[in-house]
């Protein structure tokens, strides 16, 4: 949290530790409000007030509590848990309470120690501020005052804090400043710097929320093609372990056409976060060609880091996302995994001895999940710009059972559901998104965009593909009983077409340089190529060609290789020609 408030902590009140149990500490004689940040014990461990009962205040502590003993001091800052907002958040990796991990490493080495505080944004680094207002302009809360080039990809916009009264600009600076120096003064006497603070548990204000109408293009065929997500939409990715949640989330972070990506590693593996830290600076952003890190803010609270900070990390993330949304950007936020977040709530709740709800989760689980996803959306900001937050939450249901509370409560809120399937993962069908269980309620909203930008018959071709896959899953049940060869010829052919849809379209190799990103135009051409095969094959069947001969043409297996072709347009054209030739010469 903010160093500024830490070095000269305004101690509003001081109390004594009464008891310690894991991350939960109770204190007596502490004068505090709910959600105030406090510092606990001689080590000054950061914590947050979560319950007040008579003279006893309950605190969740964001650091290990080993060795903390009753009688120690508890100091209240009187401030709610907040994040520092300003230039310098991109290309940074934070822990769950916005302490930059690189700074922590340089201060305490490879292992995370306790009681070390660090500001969320560097207070000494200077930034080139170019004003967009002049003296005499009247500004209101949220208005953009100037531009700071934050990274190669992103221009940071310095805004009037949302809780400001606004007023007439009396002084404007221009040039290099650090984040705490005043760059604009108002006639109300208010001095505005690049840095602002915002309490994480409170959504930043907006003008109104709109219905999303543009897709978040992910470059993943199964997602863009069958189950699209809107910019400003919400999606859940539930799946048992090993089904590819993290790879799917990372693909989104890498290839989606968002301006800003906030990636929250909530209670997941340390090595996975390291992979992101290692890879992202080297990978190019498909939008701008600059390093991916230049548009990314990472929040890593791995599973072995303190559980209370896991509870707060999603709020830290979404608050940062809202700040960039206010600048008018499209933000994509990934939370991997929301189940770990829910478990952190459960753990704290059980330490508080609250009456448990379903499966030991607190009764307020549904409400918290809903509040979180509601902070996503396509918004008209208070400064008149339009920005969006698309929220994608991974869910890790115990035993892969989707009927458990976190999955069920999430599904009640989100509109896109990408169901990961362990069976598909086992046979290395990736991305292992199950096409019969998944859905997207944004399809109709987004069709006009695809029709206008990709192909006029996009919705029809998609429907054709869906129908073939549906028919396949029905036929598979019969095949399981009687074998494929017992089916009539036309149904055998349908199975063959469906196989190409599965292998050539739905499957995508995340580790292949070309295949890993498939623009909608390419996805559409793959559909078209398979449809050509379908149409020609059925025509040949009609003309009396035996089904074995049709499926044996040597052009057909090439349908599965379109994904890996760089020059896919020429490849598809040639392939379509070959399919036509080879089939037509048979009758």
């Amino acid at each position: 949290m903010s160093q500024a408030t830490q070095t000269d902590i305004d101690v509003v009140s001081e109390g004594r530790i009464e008891s310690v149990s894991g991350p939960v500490v109770t204190a007596t004689d502490l004068d505090a409000r709910m959600n105030d940040v406090v510092y606990v014990g001689q080590e000054g461990l950061m914590g947050e007030v979560i319950e007040i009962e008579g003279n006893v205040t309950t605190i969740q502590v964001y650091e290990e509590t080993s060795g903390i003993s009753p009688g120690g001091p508890v100091k209240n800052t009187g401030e709610p848990l907040s994040v520092d907002l300003g230039p310098g958040m991109l290309d940074t990796i934070y822990d769950g309470v916005q302490r930059p991990l690189d700074v922590l490493e340089s201060r305490m080495g490879a292992f995370l120690d306790r009681g070390v505080d660090a500001p969320g944004i560097d207070l000494e680094e200077t930034w080139e501020f170019t004003p967009e207002v002049t003296e005499g302009d009247v500004v209101e809360a949220g208005d953009i005052l100037g531009i700071v080039p934050e990274t190669k990809s992103v221009d940071h916009k310095v805004m009037v804090p949302p809780d400001s009264e606004g007023g007439e600009v009396t002084a404007v600076e221009s040039g290099e400043f650090d984040v705490t120096e005043t760059v604009v003064e108002l006639d109300s006497g208010e001095e505005i710097a690049m840095r602002q603070e915002w309490p994480v548990r409170q959504a930043r204000p907006t003008e109104n929320k709109r219905s999303p109408d543009r897709p978040l293009v992910t470059g993943q065929r199964v997602q863009d093609g069958l189950f699209p997500l809107a910019k400003g939409g919400t999606a859940a990715i539930p799946g048992p372990f090993g089904s590819g949640k993290t790879v799917t989330q990372q693909s989104l972070a890498k290839f989606s056409d968002a301006d800003i990506v906030v990636y929250i590693g909530c209670g997941e593996r340390g090595n996975e976060m390291t992979e992101v830290i290692d890879d992202f600076p080297d990978l190019p952003d498909p939008q701008t060609g600059n390093a991916l890190m230049a548009r990314t803010c990472l929040i890593a609270n791995t599973s072995n880091m303190p559980v209370a900070a896991r509870e707060s990390c999603v709020y830290t993330g979404i608050t940062i996302a809202e700040f960039y949304r206010d600048m008018g950007y499209d933000v994509a936020l990934m939370a991997d995994s929301t189940s770990r977040w829910a478990e952190a709530m459960r753990e704290i709740s059980s330490r508080l001895e609250e009456m448990p709800g379903e499966e030991g989760y607190p009764a307020y689980l549904a409400a918290r999940l809903a509040q979180f996803y509601e902070r996503a959306g396509l918004f008209e900001n208070i400064n008149g710009t339009e920005g969006s937050i698309s929220a994608v939450g991974a869910v890790s249901p115990p035993g892969g059972d989707f009927s458990e509370p976190v999955t069920q409560n999430t599904l009640r809120i989100v509109k896109t559901f990408w169901a990961l399937d362990a069976d598909l993962a086992e046979r290395r069908h990736f991305p292992s998104i199950n096409w019969t269980e998944s859905y997207s309620l944004y399809k109709d909203q987004l069709d006009p965009w695809f029709v206008e930008n990709v192909a006029e018959d996009w919705p029809e071709v998609r429907q054709w593909a869906v129908d073939v896959l549906d028919e396949e899953s029905e036929l598979q049940e019969i095949v399981q009983l009687v074998g494929k060869d017992a089916l009539p010829d036309d149904q055998q052919l349908t199975l063959e077409v469906a196989r190409y849809l599965r292998e050539g379209f739905l499957q995508q190799n995340a580790f292949h340089d070309v295949d890993q990103f498939s623009p909608p135009e390419k996805s559409y051409l793959i559909w078209q190529a398979i449809k050509t095969f379908n149409d020609e094959a059925f025509a040949a069947l009609e003309a009396g060609v035996p089904v074995e001969e049709i499926t044996a043409i040597d052009a057909a297996p090439r349908l599965n290789r379109i994904g890996t072709q760089e020059d896919y347009e020429a490849y598809v054209e040639e392939l379509q020609g070959d399919i036509e030739d080879q089939l037509r010469e048979k009758y």
Partner: protein, 486 residues
């Protein structure tokens, strides 16, 4: 040091003591029974006036007159390189009759989390010599890859085989000619093995120790033994002692450490026992709600750190109650670890050694640890293709039971044959057989050669040209072709 004789309640593994000075959370306690026996414990909950203590050695013999000493520090493990070759009990006391251990340092056993920013991403291939692992679920340095097993399956044999055979491939490139003999002697490329036993039977323990002694592996091992008849609460500390030792050897002394923890199921049972004694609100199947966090604090202690020589690789073993991988113990483990190796009862009864079912097995770090320069350029594609082909053959087996083989097409029959040969030739290898990665992949190609080229849609066309056995008799040439290349 403050001493009390104010025990108010003894319940299961817990002791409650009235205190007049505050004690710290997690602090270590010594309890001396009237009989003079000293037991150790840890503060679980600390309030002004009363402390709850979990006693590692069990509460038998403690009465209300026993004296309780708070040592004013959290639990530490005395660490030194001299620990290598030693056998210790579950709370870190030597039981091999050897000399007293003179510690170089005493380290907190809880262990701090590694800053993700300071981690180095694991991508160095470990050759275990087991095809089902190397070829299909590659282990890399710094990974945590558990074995999901069940009662009656030979998980110990597999763990021992891995401990015995695991090497770094660099050692082999040094001297190509005598590589086979060299790897066994190559000290530098071998792992220091930390073996943490929790609640296993004396017989199992002997099996491990005997094998370590027989192969000379004991010299480079540290063994922690908490046996089935040792106090279950002690199982809470055993893995932490083992991992603290591992971290010390790896990150301060530069060893590559392989930690085998068995059996994690017993550890979780102990966790549940303490949770129940504390009357906590239970989570799924009575296990505490914080079990995920607790397990993560063990498993996440695997890894590599930037700028440090060594690494900690973990192979925890757990037995799935009722062969059920949705049981909370394997389930939570799978969510934390980087994959799993699944043992299969059916393969075991077919006599496959090791009976690894590769389909539900997974190594998440495989993709970055294999390929050109690491293992071989065709590794990823071959393993993908074998997964897909084996899965297809496996599906067809259900069908064969209904309609018989004759009713299936020629293509289907090929996949069925593939699945059979995959199990009998690729997975089956025996616990004493050490295959290098080239051999593993060559067997893979031999099997893939049963399928027509057009079916190999997971493999790059150039690689098919290079490796596909055109004629059964030509397969032997492939291995030579690789080394000449590049």
């Amino acid at each position: 040091m403050k001493e009390y004789q104010t025990i108010t309640e003894i319940s299961g593994p817990l002791v409650f003591v009235e205190i007049d000075e505050p004690v710290g959370y997690d602090e270590i306690v010594e309890i001396e029974t009237p009989g003079g026996e000293v037991k150790r414990g840890q503060v679980l909950e600390s309030q002004s006036g009363i402390a709850a203590i979990q006693v590692f050695e069990g509460t038998t013999g403690i009465d209300r007159k026993a004296s309780v000493r708070f040592l004013g520090e959290t639990m530490k493990m005395p660490v030194t390189e001299d620990l290598l070759g030693r056998v210790l009990d579950g709370s870190g006391e030597p039981i091999d009759g050897g000399p007293e251990i003179v510690p170089e340092e005493r380290q907190d056993i809880v262990g701090a989390a590694i800053n993700p920013y300071a981690r180095e991403y694991p991508e160095e291939f470990i050759q275990t010599g087991v095809s089902a692992v190397d070829g299909m679920n590659t282990l890399v340095r710094g990974q945590k890859l558990p074995i999901f097993s069940a009662s009656g399956l030979p998980h110990n044999d597999l763990a021992l085989q891995i401990a015995r055979q695991a090497t770094m491939p660099e050692a082999e490139t040094d001297d190509d000619s005598t590589e086979e003999e060299a790897t066994d002697e190559e000290e530098g490329s071998e792992f220091a093995v930390i073996f943490g036993a929790m609640g296993i039977t004396a017989e199992e323990a002997n099996e491990f120790i005997d094998d370590f002694e027989r192969t000379g592996a004991l010299e480079r091992s540290v063994v922690f033994m908490n046996l089935a008849d040792d106090p279950s609460v002690e199982r809470q500390v055993t893995p932490r002692l083992a991992l603290t030792t591992a971290e010390y050897l790896a990150f301060e002394k530069g060893y590559h450490v392989l930690v085998i923890l068995t059996d994690m199921t017993n550890y979780c049972e102990a966790l549940r026992e303490i949770g129940a004694a504390r009357e906590e609100v239970p989570g799924r199947r009575g296990y505490p709600g914080y079990m995920y966090t607790d397990l993560a604090q063990l498993y996440e202690r695997a890894g590599r750190i930037k700028g440090r020589e060594g690494s900690v690789t973990q192979i925890p073993i757990l037995t799935m109650p009722g062969d059920d991988d949705t049981h909370p113990i394997p389930d939570l483990t799978g969510y934390i670890t980087e994959g799993q190796i699944m043992m299969d009862r059916e393969l075991n009864s077919q006599g496959i050694e090791p009976p690894v079912n590769v389909l539900p097995s997974l190594s998440r770090l495989m993709d970055d640890g294999i390929g050109e320069g690491l293992t071989r350029e065709d590794h990823a594609d071959v393993s993908d293709q074998m997964y897909a082909a084996y899965a297809e053959g496996e599906d067809l087996r259900d069908l064969v039971n209904i309609v018989g083989r004759e009713a299936l097409s020629e293509r289907d029959n090929k996949f069925l044959d593939f699945a059979d040969r995959f199990e009998n030739e690729f997975v089956q290898q025996g616990y004493q057989n050490n295959r290098d990665i080239g051999e593993t992949l060559d067997i893979g190609w031999e099997l893939l050669g049963m399928l027509p080229k057009t079916e190999l849609n997971r493999i790059d066309e150039e690689l098919i040209e290079k490796y596909y056995p055109e004629d059964e008799s030509e397969t032997s040439e492939e291995a030579v072709g690789v080394e000449a290349d590049d």
